[in-house]
């Protein structure tokens, strides 16, 4: 239904295994990883004031953007390839963040304002013990399991029912929005046991390391970069595979695919759950770097903003959403510091102009320009 805007897939030569990226692309990606990866080193190695010094703020900002980029990549997998527009990826992002946040809260130990074994907000609510769903979260690896398992399980169950009853298109988008909205209301309640509208904050340490130390921050940054690069390659592998082609077919004409004899449920469910898990990981990486997670991450606005990162960069391109997340958020950072009152106008314009004039985003534009130059040459 929305296939017209998408570049036609390559011919169905199922037996030919293509390399994941072209050699030039590999080189470019490696270079990008090296450049990005060296920034925290520059921050650590050179003192402030030195021309090669990179400020801690810039490193933290880039780390945050990479988490957003990972979430955008996850969203691109479902929207760009399977045509499923989720307005609820903020939920998976926040769930991953909360799962990691539970560990970080327990790692505070008795250093909270009340000096209690329980997090401050529980002391405030006069709770005497952790609720059952907090059990074992003091173990880092269990929390990491939750980071993937909770968004994954929720996405699996929700997706199973939604895809089975063939909810698609705008309906699916709205239902995901409603789900996220319901979750936000739930997390805003103090009784839910996740800190109400303050959420989790004031983290002290992670795995025993001081969470504010520049070295810890650099390590978190590198982990994020590695996750982003790794998932980019993995997503490319998925979309290049036969399964990826079926996904593209679902996007372009689900009914026709069904008539041919495919059952789309399993394919959609796979990519949907995978995407939710990736988003959960993005959230888990985001929380220690930003130092706070609250239900605001589940708001309608946050989820739709994620979609615009993908759209601006170019849906269905994998690399585009990463660029889009960086570009839109860079713009946002600049606007909110220089013209805070104009940011919403700018964002609104980005939404309108992208959908009207850049249906394939910045990557699509670059490709079109490159193709034109190729013709002229």
């Amino acid at each position: 239904m929305s296939g017209a805007a998408i570049p036609a897939g390559r011919p169905l030569d199922a037996y030919a295994r293509k390399p994941l990226f072209s050699p030039a692309m590999w080189t470019g990606l490696s270079a990008a990883v090296v450049v990005l990866g060296s920034l925290p080193l520059l921050n650590l190695a050179f003192p402030a004031g030195h021309p090669l010094h990179v400020s801690a703020y810039a490193v933290a900002l880039l780390g945050k953007f990479m988490c957003y980029a990972l979430a955008a990549l996850a969203l691109d997998l479902v929207w760009g390839y399977a045509g499923i527009l989720s307005l609820g990826h903020g939920l998976f992002f926040a769930l991953g963040g909360y799962a990691h946040g539970m560990y970080l809260m327990r790692a505070i130990g008795r250093d909270g304002a009340y000096g209690s074994d329980l997090p401050d907000f529980m002391v405030f609510l006069d709770w005497k013990a952790y609720p059952w769903y907090w059990s074992f979260t003091e173990h880092f690896w269990y929390a990491m399991l939750l980071v993937v398992a909770v968004p994954g399980a929720l996405a699996f169950v929700f997706g199973y029912f939604a895809f089975r009853s063939r909810i698609k298109g705008v309906y699916f988008s709205i239902i995901t929005q409603a789900l996220t909205f319901a979750a936000m209301l739930l997390f805003f309640r103090n009784d839910t046991g996740f800190g109400g509208n303050n959420g989790f904050t004031d983290f002290k340490r992670i795995l025993g390391f001081d969470i504010t130390a520049p070295e810890t921050r650099a390590a978190l940054y590198w982990v994020t970069l590695a996750a982003l690069a790794g998932f980019l390659v993995a997503a490319r592998a998925v979309t290049q595979s036969k399964l990826g082609r079926v996904l593209t077919a679902i996007r372009d004409s689900e009914s026709r695919l069904r008539f041919i004899g495919y059952e789309p449920l399993g394919f959609k469910l796979f990519v949907w759950t995978l995407s939710a898990m990736m988003c959960g990981i993005a959230g888990a990486l985001y929380v220690p770097q930003v130092g706070i997670i609250n239900p605001g991450e589940m708001s309608t606005e946050t989820s739709i903003e994620m979609v615009i990162w993908v759209a601006t960069g170019g849906r269905g391109t994998l690399l585009g959403p990463i660029i889009g997340a960086g570009a839109v958020n860079g713009l946002k950072t600049w606007f909110t510091s220089v013209f805070p009152e104009f940011w919403l106008y700018a964002l609104g314009l980005i939404f309108v102009l992208t959908t009207l004039f850049l249906p394939q985003g910045m990557v699509g534009l670059a490709r079109r320009l490159a193709a034109r130059r190729g013709e002229q040459a």
Binding site: M1, S2, A4, A5, W79, L85, F158, F161, A162, R164, S165, R166, I167, G169, V170, Y171, S173, I174, I175, Q177, A178, L179, F181, A182, L185, L186, F188, R189, S255, T300, I304, V307, I308, A311, E341, F342, L344, Y345, L347, G348, L349, I350, F351, V352, T354, T355, L356, P359
Partner: protein, 546 residues
Amino acid sequence: MRIAAIALILRVLALALALPAPALAADPAPAAQGLDATLLARLADTETDTRLGAISALGESADPQAARVLQALGDSRLRATADGRMLVDTGDGRAADAATGRAMDLPRNAEPVIVNNRLRRAIAGALAGSQLFAADPAVRRAAAQRLAREGDAGRLPLIGRALDAERDESVRASLQVAQASLELKSDRPQVRRHAVELLGRTDNAAFRPMLAALALPRPDGAYAEPDAGVREAAAAAVRRIDRHLATVEWMGNLFYGLSLGSILLLAALGLAITFGLMGVINMAHGELLMIGAYVAYLVQLAFRRMFPAWTDWYVIAALPAAFLVAAALGMALERTIIRWLYGRPLETLLATWGISLMLMQGVRSLFGAQNVEVANPSWMSGGFAVMNGLVLTYNRVAIIVFALLVVFFVWLLLNHTRLGLFVRAITQNRRMADCVGVPTGRVDMLAFGLGSGIAGLAGVALSQLGNVGPDLGRAYLVDSFMVVVLGGVGQLAGTVVAALGLGGINKFLEPYAGAVMAKITVLVLIILFVQKRPQGLFAPRGRSAE
């Protein structure tokens, strides 16, 4: 004695003629008949028992002057002259005649009437009785409550007389509690039973604890009430009150559910039309509501400045204005942006979201981020009490009626006009309609205008219920989507049933689950419901595959 009394009255009359204006002007009416002077004289008797008798007699008098005399006696401001007249010292050498309240100079020979503690106690009790007839309802209510606490069954006749005279509902209720709680202390089971039945008949929740204490055993197993018949009557009274409370709650839920439902209906109706027609989810719909509300605010300002006398009717003028503004905005959006995105519903969703961001920020820049003040016209404030404990406020009733009117006109438009015929044709099959000559482009624009205009109308309605601020639309966004998803497209009935149903379910769940959990439950129920009927409640049956 009698001669003295007549002389007194004559003297008072003379005084009344001589003195131009009575000083006790605060409440001039009640002194008309005056108190019995011989009774007053007994207050200064040498025998304490005589004085006690006079005090209690005064306490049962329905004349408000009696309360003043008793108060003065308690405060040692009552004075007796040598000829047996009683005067209330009002300070500064002035006095008021105890019998009539007429003001005069305080004679030099007036001796203070001394009271002892025993008398003081009697005065306090008597005061409560006499204050039952005070002019101020608050004083009367306080007196009734004091009597109930004192628990002197001898006051029952007095309370009975007060009840006969009382017109104020809240004071009556207090008097009934006093009466019943005194009757409950009676040692005659019939009297207690009567009291219990009386309390039950009031349908007033305030009596429930008292009655329940009689009907149920205490923790040690004994009953507070020895007589089984009375206990049974008390249990029946509790049941009666509970039944009444349940009815009130049910009716209240029904009303608030209907009210919420009609708000949702107004908010979602325009959305349903555009979604049904074009398959376009307009994320800026909430902002069109918000703009309607701001139009109401502007019209109100204009009325205040230009026609202050007509300010109460600004809402009526705001309706067409909001409709036109929102419709014009909607049509402009359709022509400039949405038209280019047909066949790409997900992109439309994003573009309209962008528009909504700009509209919101635009309103913020123009009017500020704070809420603006939109007043209810006076004919919309207040409400009528349908039954004991349930008040239907006029503004909510007005909005229910308004929603029904809007639905009626939309129905009329869709089913009995040429434009409506075209809209329905395009909703059913756009390409076929195009082929037989329906001007789909123009109809799209008009229908989008209609949907936006209805949003503007809804905005005016919302401005009468809650805060008007730039975020107003966001609050209704998810809810109105849910109505559309639940109701399905292409059917007005689906939207109406979905909106009223959602409103009702929400309000009926709230008492059990709390507002937030009720909302979450409803959202989850919708998600589950859509599993069964992905096309909504009244999906048109067809054979087409997308």
